[in-house]
């Protein structure tokens, strides 16, 4: 573990997602996607699924409404059928590659309580080597050059307090407090969710991305217990050209996520997750 970064012995992370968005390869249709899988990924990712295309996402700054969209829009070129988002899964379904005309995403997920988070450096290594394979393939097939325009890293945590209902989020998050001005509502709490955004700035204090933190009450599929899903996503511009620029942003985003996670979660939870470093006083 790097110095200066908070470290947890038993973190609640269940999924880590590294992704890049790039200028679309318009000719990467479902047929070429099949050839791509056959040539590059079939051995390591033998299971295939097809899903709907993800819409482009950008972090912009100085925009009055920020990334809060006031209307939903979608653009489908009607002359062409929708482009698929292919899922290539490992045999045990612990890892996934998602590829569409303008996205390349690598997911790792925890399959059971015994499986251990392989750590960021290992997840990043898989992402960068498979992305390099994809880049070389697109170049050799004359689909175009890989021009990244946004990068994204997400950590998904499942947090249970062992209660039969969705617990008070203030036990988990320092930034959520049930502090009422009047008695009204004090005894009527059911559940809560929130979405907070923070600006990620570079060394020159210029904004280069955003950290989104979302807490959502969910129910675990396997045992129907109520838990909170806490998702931290850092998204922004690549920090330089090519895959190197993507990895540089992902490193910065990961640092913001790890530090941000420690900053907004309570010391009560840090004890449960076995925080190793002393933290800030």
């Amino acid at each position: 573990m790097e110095r200066d970064l908070p470290d947890f012995g038993d973190p609640p992370v269940v999924e880590v997602i590294l992704g890049v968005q790039f200028d679309a390869f318009e000719d990467l249709n479902s047929i070429k996607m099949g050839v791509l899988w056959n040539k590059l990924f079939q051995q390591r990712f033998p299971i295939v699924e097809e899903h709907g295309e993800l819409a482009p996402q950008y972090e912009r700054f100085g925009v009055p409404r920020g990334s809060q969209s006031s209307f939903d829009y979608s653009i489908m070129l009607q002359k062409k059928p929708p482009s698929p988002r292919a899922w290539f899964l490992k045999d045990d379904k612990s890892e996934l590659l998602q590829i569409q005309r303008d996205r390349f995403i690598h997911n790792w997920r925890k399959l059971d309580s015994d499986s251990e988070y392989p750590r960021y450096e290992n997840v990043r290594e898989t992402f960068s080597s498979e992305l390099e394979n994809f880049r070389e393939y697109c170049q050799s097939e004359k689909l175009g050059e890989l021009n990244p325009n946004q990068c994204e890293i997400s950590y998904l945590n499942h947090i249970s307090l062992g209660d039969k209902t969705h617990s008070d989020l203030s036990r988990i998050l320092t930034v959520f407090q049930q502090d009422y001005s009047d008695q009204f509502l004090r005894d009527s709490f059911e559940e809560s969710q929130l979405h907070i955004r923070y600006l990620i700035k570079n060394e020159e204090s210029n904004p280069v991305g955003r950290l989104h933190i979302k807490a959502t009450p969910v129910v675990k599929l396997e045992d129907k217990t109520p838990i909170y899903s806490l998702e931290l996503t850092a998204r922004g511009q690549p920090d330089g050209n090519g895959i190197e620029g993507v990895l540089k942003f992902l490193n910065r985003g990961r640092e913001w996520i790890v530090k941000g996670f420690a900053a907004i979660t309570t010391k009560e939870m840090h004890k449960i997750w076995k925080r190793k470093d002393s933290g800030e006083e």
């Binding site: 999924e15 700054f61 100085g62 009055p64 997920r109 599929l221």
Partner: protein, 145 residues
């Protein structure tokens, strides 16, 4: 894009895609002309200008909708929306004392030209993710109408 599914997350991950270019118009009537214009631009074919012009690229269309989404309200003067031969889309405002032209390449790539004849101010710049300059120029347009 997560694949760890919880009950309340399943639906969001599998929402069907709309089948055509659309901006819901019931709540934002003033955006309907944009919807019509973009649909007409998307129907342009290669050589639409008989000089080998490229049809508007999807990224440019997304960029235009992102500008409307982020900066526009009912009081914003509606621009001319024209294709360029390179496959980009240009937004143009020609008001009595000032002009603004934004060539949209994508949501985070634009070329902005602004001129205020009253005070001689000229801005000619490339914009990426930080779009404060565009925000200021659009405010100036609103104040000058």
């Amino acid at each position: 894009m997560s694949f760890t599914l919880c009950e309340s997350e399943v639906a969001a991950d599998f929402e069907p895609l709309p089948e055509k270019t659309m901006i819901p118009s019931q709540s934002v009537d003033w955006l309907q002309p944009l919807n019509e214009k973009l649909n007409s631009l998307l129907s342009l074919k290669e050589n639409w200008d008989s000089y080998g012009g490229l049809p508007p690229r999807k990224q440019a269309v997304h960029g235009v909708t992102a500008i409307f989404d982020g900066f526009f309200d009912e009081e914003t003067p509606f621009p001319e929306i024209v294709p360029t031969s390179k496959g980009n889309i240009q937004l143009e405002w020609h008001l009595p004392h000032c002009e603004l032209e934004v060539e949209v390449i994508s949501t985070v790539q634009m070329h902005l030209y602004f001129e205020d004849e009253e005070n001689g101010e000229l801005i000619d710049t490339v914009l990426e993710a930080d779009q404060t300059v565009l925000s200021n120029c659009i405010d100036r347009l609103k104040n000058s109408t």
